[in-house]
């Protein structure tokens, strides 16, 4: 009885999470430009539309460029900071860890409005690169968290051994520390990348009128009614996220990354 009840509960939650996506997937293969489910006819042309329609393609390129660069910048901010906090005893420097986590904890509209007033005051409002900085600051939390987890997992005796053998700080970092934290670095980048790809409000508030990312494009299109390309883009996004997180799970320890202790019980 309990087993049955448990399966039923998993089924209900699974359906709740997947039902909207199943319907959207069905709608995305409609042959004609109608919002109908079950789909009438079958066509993958709306997936082609993302790449062949210049507007959708421009939005896709803008989103991918923004996500690639802002995630890289987020890692560049997080790596030296978490290395410093691990290498040195400087309790006051923890304030920067807090500053890195703050934008992600507060409602996103706060970070968005702060950046909007800042760029408007300094006169850079609307420049595409301001969105890169905005996303990097907004998502720096993710590499910060994965990296501090990675550093705390390093056995300090490795580092001591390397230092005893005459390696200086730089060599130790390159030959011992970096290989050990690489999985955490990559997963931090992956989390920031996927979330930046999907982010709406910070991008909208800072560059909404000059640069159209995919989420902005979908919302703008939604105001004027329905186009099936929205559905195909949605499925493309879900699939991208699922593939990236599966890769993180395959090459890293996902339960541990999400805060569970290294679990050897299977």
């Amino acid at each position: 009885m309990m087993l049955w009840l448990r399966r039923f509960y998993f089924l209900v939650i699974g359906l709740f999470l997947s039902l909207p996506l199943i319907v959207v997937a069905g709608v995305s293969v409609n042959a004609k430009q109608t919002l109908a489910f079950p789909p009438q006819g079958f066509s993958l042309s709306w997936y082609g539309e993302i790449f062949s329609n210049p507007e959708w393609r421009a939005a896709l390129v803008a989103s991918v460029v923004l996500a690639t660069t802002s995630a890289a910048l987020a890692v560049l901010i997080a790596l030296p900071l978490s290395w410093f906090l691990w290498r040195r005893i400087a309790p006051w420097a923890n304030i920067f860890q807090v500053l890195g986590i703050a934008p992600f904890t507060l409602p996103p509209v706060i970070t968005a409005l702060g950046l909007l007033t800042f760029w408007a005051t300094t006169g850079f409002y609307g420049q595409p690169w301001t969105a890169v900085i905005g996303h990097a600051i907004f998502f720096v939390t993710l590499p910060l968290v994965t990296l501090s987890l990675g550093f705390s997992a390093i056995d300090r005796s490795f580092v001591e051994a390397a230092a005893t053998m005459g390696a200086d700080d730089r060599t130790v970092f390159r030959t011992v520390v970096l290989p050990l934290i690489l999985p955490y670095l990559v997963s931090g980048y992956a989390f920031a990348f996927v979330l930046s790809l999907n982010e709406y409000i910070v991008a909208y508030m800072t560059v909404g009128f000059t640069l159209e990312t995919l989420p902005i494009k979908i919302f703008n299109a939604l105001r004027y009614g329905y186009t099936p390309t929205m559905a195909s883009v949605t499925i493309l996004f879900v699939a991208t996220a699922a593939v990236i997180f599966s890769l993180v799970a395959k090459f890293g320890d996902l339960p541990k990354l999400l805060g569970a202790m290294a679990s050897d019980d299977s």
Binding site: L35, R88, P107, I133, F237, M261
Partner: protein, 284 residues
């Protein structure tokens, strides 16, 4: 190489870039926003430096009170729904094999990372007249003809629970995985049914975690911005929507900034409360 305090300026080297970036692009913008909240609005979309409280005085209007009350009520409802759904789920999840856990975690992360735009669009499709659930209800004879189930309060609430549920599960997950499994075993050995053990042993043991999670989901839901617009009517708009509306469409940055400062204060108060609960939990 022992861990030691930095001695020379060069030792501080790695800190320069991250600290500079965070100060310049988070602390300064935050300060700018606070400053603008006291500025005088000029007709035509600009503002002049001043120190006026009129932006804050507007909070006293009945309209603002209504929006604030609705935002808080909505966020509390979302938080309660999510925790009630997530608690048994996360417990059952933590008892699965590692392979199945990873499968669910990947699925949850994928849904969690979805843009609000996409969640809004997906639910508006599912609740629509032509492609939605109501067609199914017609087929099994519960409904005479398909209807649109949005815009409505129920649609906003469902969309927001959908958005926040994966977050809730992932916040609960570490605490529940680390929970001593012998607690439940003891309860079962002493003859308690699994459901009774869940309510009488697990829930009290996790009391602090549950409180902290409620607050975190509440803050998460306060940030929801597009779902009330896509799935609701104007009377379902939240404080986040109002802030953007004032900043972008009404060009009233000082008022938008004042509302944002207010939202920060509410959030920080709640974060402080979370930390306090966490500390108490550690002592116990």
């Amino acid at each position: 190489m022992k861990r030691e305090p930095p001695q020379t300026v060069a030792d501080y080297g790695p800190l320069f870039f991250p600290a500079g970036m965070l100060l310049l692009f988070f602390v300064v913008p935050f300060g700018t926003m606070i400053a603008v909240s006291f500025f005088q609005r000029q007709e035509g979309g600009f503002y002049t430096p001043a120190f006026v409280l009129s932006n804050y005085e507007r909070f006293l209007s009945a309209f603002f009170g209504g929006v604030l009350g609705f935002s808080l009520m909505l966020a509390i409802t979302v938080a309660i729904c999510c925790v009630v759904l997530a608690l048994p789920f996360t417990y059952l999840l933590s008892r699965l094999t590692r392979r199945l856990q990873v499968f669910w975690l990947v699925a949850l992360l994928s849904v969690l990372s979805l843009s609000e735009v996409i969640i809004g669009f997906a639910w508006s499709t599912l609740l629509s007249r032509t492609a939605g659930l109501s067609n199914l209800l017609v087929k099994i004879g519960l409904l005479d003809q398909p209807v649109a189930l949005f815009p409505s309060f129920g649609a906003v609430l469902t969309g927001m629970v959908y958005q926040a549920l994966p977050y809730t599960i992932l916040v609960l997950y570490p605490a529940i995985v680390r929970l001593d499994p012998t607690l439940m075993e003891a309860a079962r050995t002493l003859g308690s049914s699994p459901i009774r053990a869940f309510f009488n042993v697990l829930v009290p043991a996790l009391r602090n975690t549950i409180m902290a999670t409620l607050i975190m989901v509440f803050i998460f839901a306060l940030g929801s911005y597009l779902l009330p617009q896509i799935l609701g009517r104007p009377q379902h708009w939240t404080l986040s929507v109002l802030i953007t509306d004032q900043a972008i469409y009404q060009s009233n940055m000082p008022f938008a900034a004042a509302m944002a400062v207010f939202l920060v204060l509410v959030t920080l108060g709640l974060v402080a409360l979370t930390l306090l609960i966490g500390r108490k939990g550690e002592k116990a």
